[in-house]
Amino acid sequence: MLYGYLPVLIFLGIAIALGVVLLALGLILGGGRKDDEKLSPYECGFEPFEDSRIKFDVRYYLVAILFIIFDLEIAFLFPWAVSLDAIGAFGIIAMAVFLTVLVVGFVYEWKKGALEWD
């Protein structure tokens, strides 16, 4: 049954191999001389004046968390959508209830300002 996925595996392998070959080609043919200035992090011509592991806005983190919830939701919807004609009215109404719960959560986070970026 999984035999049909063999081409997928081969394709992934070839795609990775292509990237590796390109990168190796560049590293070999590129050559060049390294010096201290060239290898320093780029900061508009100045000496970098603090570590680049800086604090970042917590909203990025918030977006990532919200993403997980919604992506899980999509993962739940996939099998439901495929079997739509098999589960009939009961399935559709059940999913409508589930989606409504999610929408309530979405409205809550919207009102709380979790989606504001200014």
């Binding site: 081409p7 997928v8 909203r59 919207w110």
Partner: protein
């Protein structure tokens, strides 16, 4: 020509039959993948050329015209130049992750083509979980961005990576919901069956039933590939080039290749899921029966992909860049509500038995 092939085959055949079935299958698949990959990479090369040409024409310039006739060899000149340039790995960078990141962005962009139905009844891997595989691989692209930005250990790269990652995951949700809509209409995760459901003389492309989802999917695709007008991640006027600021030579070229390969992939997926893939828009018209125009095939897929790619370039030439908060607002407060509402509408239509999902 067939004579030569037949005599060659006569020589090869005994050796071929001697090989185990697994090896035979692997060889056949590799022989299918190789031309597809060559075509995709050539398309990427010429897409960069056409981008410069088309934007040039739209701005009343000529565009590249020096290398070869009409500048047609420009992409090759660029490639050779990039391969011969030095790959600089900054002092503070994590060397391993720095070099792995470009691979992580190019491989999914190419490998997703395995399940795209190219012509009737053919995809390189005609698997049942095709759409799931596509969703998984298009999500993988964000790792390339995050790892590149983190491994570089530079402020600009870090900021660019954070922005880009947050933008990609936001639009990923709208895209996923649009895919759910397609699934409800197609009733299958197999992309070949999704196209087959749209094909035929009645021309029931999902574009008609799922128009809002089609728009959301395509615009999300533009945002997902970090293309203009959603290219704040690169933001050359403020954070220089975002996550790939420290990449040079071929490492940069791979990111570039990945971005354009992703554009072609999004164009192909939009055609496959909403515009009937290889299906002809003229099928079912009696006057055209039996001609190339009415027959479904690779040429129709190519025409549709070319059209969507032109839209990518058109958008870039037309719109100014969005502000970051506007991008996030569009993704979270416009696209996600639209897709959820449309899924409710589809469910309602399915209940009363109207539309392609009622079968």
């Amino acid at each position: 020509m067939t004579g030569i092939i037949n005599s060659l085959w006569a020589i090869i055949e005994p050796y071929w039959n001697w090989l185990p079935t697994l090896i035979q299958d692997v060889i056949i698949v590799v022989l299918q993948i190789a031309p597809l990959l060559v075509v995709i990479i050539l398309c990427v090369a010429y897409l960069t050329f056409w981008e410069r040409k088309i934007i040039g024409w739209m701005q009343n310039r000529i565009g590249p015209n020096r290398v070869g006739p009409w500048g047609l060899f420009q992409p090759f000149a660029d490639t050779i130049k990039l391969i011969l340039k030095e790959v600089i790995v900054p002092r503070d960078a994590n060397r391993f992750l720095f070099l792995i990141a470009p691979l992580l962005s190019i491989s999914p962009a190419l490998a997703a083509w395995a399940v795209v139905p190219l012509f009737p009844d053919f995809a390189i891997a005609d698997v049942d979980a095709g759409l799931l595989y596509v969703l998984a691989l298009t999500s993988l692209g964000v790792y390339g961005v995050i790892i590149a930005g983190w491994a570089t250990n530079s402020k600009y790269a870090f900021l660019g990576a954070m922005r880009s990652a947050a933008q990609i995951v936001s639009y990923e949700i709208a895209m996923g919901f649009a895919l759910v809509g397609v699934l409800m209409a197609g009733g299958s995760l197999n992309l070949g069956e999704i196209v087959a459901a749209q094909a035929g003389p009645d021309n029931s492309w999902f574009l008609l039933w799922l128009f809002p989802l089609f728009i959301v999917y395509f615009i999300s695709g533009v945002a997902e590939t970090n293309r203009a007008p959603f290219d704040v991640a690169e933001g050359e006027s403020e954070i220089v080039a975002g996550f790939h600021v420290e990449y040079s030579g071929v490492a940069f070229a791979i990111f570039f290749l990945a971005e354009y390969a992703n554009m072609i992939l999004i164009a192909a997926l939009t055609s496959v899921m909403f515009c009937g893939g290889w299906d002809s828009p003229f099928s079912g018209i009696a006057a055209l029966e039996g001609s190339m125009l009415a027959a479904g095939g690779l040429h129709w897929l190519c025409i549709k992909v070319a059209f969507f790619l032109f839209c990518f370039l058109w958008l870039r030439a037309t719109f100014p860049r969005y502000r970051y908060d506007q991008i996030m607002r569009l993704g979270w407060k416009v696209f996600i509500p639209v897709t959820i509402v449309w899924i409710f509408i589809e469910g309602g239509l399915a209940l009363i038995g109207v539309g392609p999902w009622s079968t």
